[in-house]
Amino acid sequence: MRFERREHPVAAITIGAPVLAVTVSLLLAGGLIALAGAPVLAAYASIFTSAFGSKLALTETLTRAIPLMFTGLAAAVAFRAKVWNIGAEGQLYMGALAVAATGLWITAPPVVTIPVLIMVGALAGMVLLIIPVFMRVRFGVDEVVTTLLLNFIVLLFVSLAIEGFLRDPLAFGWPQSVPIPDEGRLPKLVDRSRLHLGLVIAVGFAVMVYLIQRFTVFGLQSRAAGESPTGAAFAGVPITRTLLGVACLSGGLAGVAGAVEAMGVKGFVSTDLSPGFGYSGIVVAMLANLNPIGVIFAALFVAAVFVGADGMSRSMEVPTFIADVTVSLALLTMLIALFFAAYRVRW
């Protein structure tokens, strides 16, 4: 048995791959639900209604999708250029922390405060990713390991900050940061829900990233640098500058994820701001096949699985970790489906 690269990837499989991945992962998750002794079909129904069944459920799913869109975009732009940024989780926290710190001394109307805070968050994420990418181009250090290790360092730094210089003295000793001023809070999109302006910003960023990748020289260069660094260098692409540019874009997006989450949902920073949004962003990016517009829909799917499984596990005796299992299975299935879009099997 051997695999033979197809002349052209089969469009039907490439487009169908996410659908296939979602279906297979839900079926396999059904097996695990059965293992827990819960009725599988009722569980599926419960996941669906918990994610989409009411106005509240729908707004919760959309709210949960916002940070996933940003981290998904962060992973997508990086992976496209073969910059393995696995540090979105850390960049997210850095962005949020920078927002909380800046909020301490900024006094301006929301029209100014909100864009400034988002930019500060982006900047913090950028700086955090430029370090490992610089170490890669300068010293040849694999950025996978460094970005992963930085996640742990940043989380400890956040914990240090919110117990120390950024501690909220009014939080009754609960470790959380000073609150973000009202002028920096994102307005709600729907009354009596948590859904905030971040959704519009996220979709806007997705379109912007799409336009950058599709119509700018930088977009072309970053894709070339990913597909064949030597070929790209030969064609005159400035590899180092391109990779650092990708780092700015990817780290910035992940930083905005943290800024928007802190400004839109919580209003402060704590060490449970993100239940692994950075890591789920990788799944989102892969399910979208690294397409920025696809990220919007992939983020909605992943958010729906998390919100739906939360609701389902409250009513049935199924651990809520079923959501993480489903999402990771979707990633693995997606990888396999994409492979068979590009290769045929010869016996």
Binding site: L156, V283, L332
Partner: protein, 315 residues
């Protein structure tokens, strides 16, 4: 200041360094074996988590400790088989496949753990491995209480490091693994099967990773809790680079790292009031990054690392 140096001469420091090093030795050797055959295994963090969970669960359900370790190793091997299916047989991106394995293995371990053990106030415990002093040798001064009064798993880890050095450098199997990692086309030309060799290396390496995880719940602690692996897997990937892909250096690197970790734990108890504890906890991760930067210039990376091999396709 003399306190700082005095700590270095306490037997407690050295024996706890060996305890901290043991899971790192297992997992670093596992990662090293995969990488010498040309496969990066980023599933390590998840495989360690699963090994920690399933080994503990087996013992909690009534199996004896060694059966727990074997169950963990077998499950690790199964995840290794999954990773080699994706990264070796299909030749998918080793980065993404490995991360997928980590996400899958760790979420599956939390799920199974929650199914088996419903939420309680305090997590249930098992009776862990006890130190087993080697007769006569444990009576030696200094090295007796440190090196020869450990749990059997620590001795196993030390022996494994030496065995792996011997196998990789002095046996035909080792040579075959090294050729596959340097140039799978040359291996094929020699009549070897690079795909089979890579699968074998990844499966064995993943089993070792899971055993490292099992040490955490069956010897270092006596219960399982989510996120207990705490990035140890990623540290091990860094240690492989630090060790320049050589088992003997991996052993030294793991012990050096653990010594540093044990030292900062003691500093924390002495100076915990003056310096935030988070700074101490950051040190091991910072140290790993520094080690990567320092060593990567001299590193001799297996030349075919992260390059998928498909029969009939040019490299």
């Amino acid at each position: 200041m003399t306190d700082l140096i005095d700590i270095l001469f306490t037997t407690g420091l050295w024996s706890s360094a060996l305890r901290i090093a043991t899971p790192l030795i297992f997992a670093t050797l596992g990662a090293l074996l995969c990488e010498r055959a040309g496969v990066l295994n980023l599933g390590i963090e998840g495989i360690m988590t699963f090994g920690a969970m399933i080994g503990w669960l087996a013992v909690f359900m009534g199996a004896d400790l060694w059966t727990g370790v074997i169950v963990a190793a077998l499950c690790g091997a199964a995840f290794g088989l999954l990773h080699s299916g994706l990264a070796v047989v299909l030749g998918l991106s080793q980065h993404v496949a490995g991360l997928g394995i980590t996400l899958f293995a760790s979420s599956l371990s939390y799920y199974i753990f929650r199914l088996a053990v419903p939420v309680q106030g305090t997590p249930p415990t098992v009776e862990p491995f006890q130190p087993w002093p080697v007769p006569f040798l444990s009576d030696l001064p200094l090295i007796g209480p440190t090196l020869f009064s450990q749990t059997p798993l620590t001795y196993l880890a030390l022996v494994l490091a030496l065995a792996m050095a011997y196998i990789l450098n002095r046996t035909p199997i080792g040579l075959a693994i090294r050729i596959t990692g340097e140039n799978p086309h040359a291996a094929e030309a020699q009549g070897l099967n690079p795909i089979a060799i890579r699968i074998g290396a990844v499966v064995t390496g993943s089993a070792l990773m899971a055993m490292g995880g099992a040490y955490l719940t069956l010897a270092a602690f006596n219960s399982f809790f989510p996120t207990m692996v705490q990035g140890r897997g990623w540290v091990c990937i860094a240690l492989v680079v630090f060790a320049m892909w050589r088992p003997g250096r991996a052993l030294l690197g793991a012990i050096l790292f653990a010594l540093f970790d044990a030292y900062q734990l003691r500093l924390q108890t002495n100076f915990g009031k003056a310096v935030p504890y988070q700074l101490f906890l950051m040190l091991p991760y910072v140290l790993s990054i520094v080690a990567l930067v320092v060593m990567s210039r001299k590193a001799k990376v297996p030349r075919a690392l992260m390059k998928p091999y498909r029969r009939g396709e040019r490299g």
